[in-house]
Symmetry: C2
Subunit: 191 residues, 2 copies
């Protein structure tokens, strides 16, 4: 998506440890009008798939998921990162190895909100090693719901997560696919 | 707001320890079409206040804030709950005593995204003892930005947070104000 690639080149900042900071428009400050355009693109890509639920993971996926769900006329469910004392019904649980936070954590989703018969689109901001995406897929599988695909804003295509998940037969649509990234050479995109 | 009160009576669940669960439409599953209506109401209330930024706190405030910000044509900034290793610029920090999670944590916002001259509307899902709201106000003060007010979805009016913040001269608009709540007697609203 040209609009997104241009925005990444303009406002993305490459940090230590292969970090791409897009804090100014995507995951700390959210440029809502811009993210609406991403949502419209996800809708264009998955419009015919009978999506009735969007699944994401807190925190930075939530805004993107909500602004996308409007175009599908469906609710959002976000997986929570720890079991808090106000989720007291049955939950599905999975585990994520966070690259950004250098730790492992559990995610949970209440079984009330993910059910057999649901046609679920996963939305998330980043796909790199694929740990969050694999964990979300595992929640969907546990609920016996159907995964329609995953809509990712930025994929680090030089890491293995995207390939791994596509090899599982899951449709992954990434709006920007980074081929290479370094402080010295900047960012290049796939294709 | 009648629509919201009816929804709370219909779908809210009262849990142990004064917890009101609105997980089915507000803060785990998000009924996006419904939250759009809340956003329109916040816009009606604060339309003339020159709002150029909406500030919230992860995670459950983010969806509401994004769906509200559309009507103000402004960005959202969400305060993060811990200092992660991909926020490496200057930050403002404040502390929240979480009732729900029975712990104290820091919230941070990058100084890039909250500045002198900003006219900030705070959006959050709940107001009870006021700890999160006070922490957000403190971030705004630290940034030397101006607070326009706070838009809260559900206020537990029998707790002291709302009064405390209003006494500071901050305009607080809560779309539903709970007067009393118990498993035995159910929920009553103010007014």
């Amino acid at each position: 998506m040209k609009l997104l690639e241009e925005r990444i080149l303009k406002d993305g900042k490459i940090g230590q440890g292969d970090v791409l900071k897009v804090d100014s428009f995507l995951n700390h400050q959210i440029d809502v009008a811009f993210v609406q355009e991403l949502g419209k693109e996800f809708h264009r890509l998955f419009a015919d798939c009978g999506v009735n639920k969007i699944l994401t993971i807190e925190a930075s996926g939530i805004g993107i998921a909500c602004l996308t769900a409007q175009y599908f006329n469906c609710p959002v469910v976000f997986a929570k990162k720890t079991k808090t004392n106000n989720i007291y019904s049955d939950v599905y649980t999975s585990q994520v190895d966070s690259y950004t936070h250098s730790r492992t954590y559990d995610i949970v989703v209440s079984s009330e909100f993910l059910k057999s018969g649901d046609r679920v689109l996963i939305i998330d901001d980043f796909l790199a090693k694929g740990s969050a995406l694999l964990a979300l897929l595992s929640l969907i599988r546990a609920a016996n719901a159907e995964v329609v695909g995953a809509g990712i804003v930025i994929e680090k295509a030089y890491q293995q997560g995207g390939q791994l998940v596509r090899n599982m037969g899951v449709r992954v649509e990434s709006l920007a696919r980074i081929a290479s990234m370094s402080v010295e050479e900047g960012i290049t995109f796939v294709g």
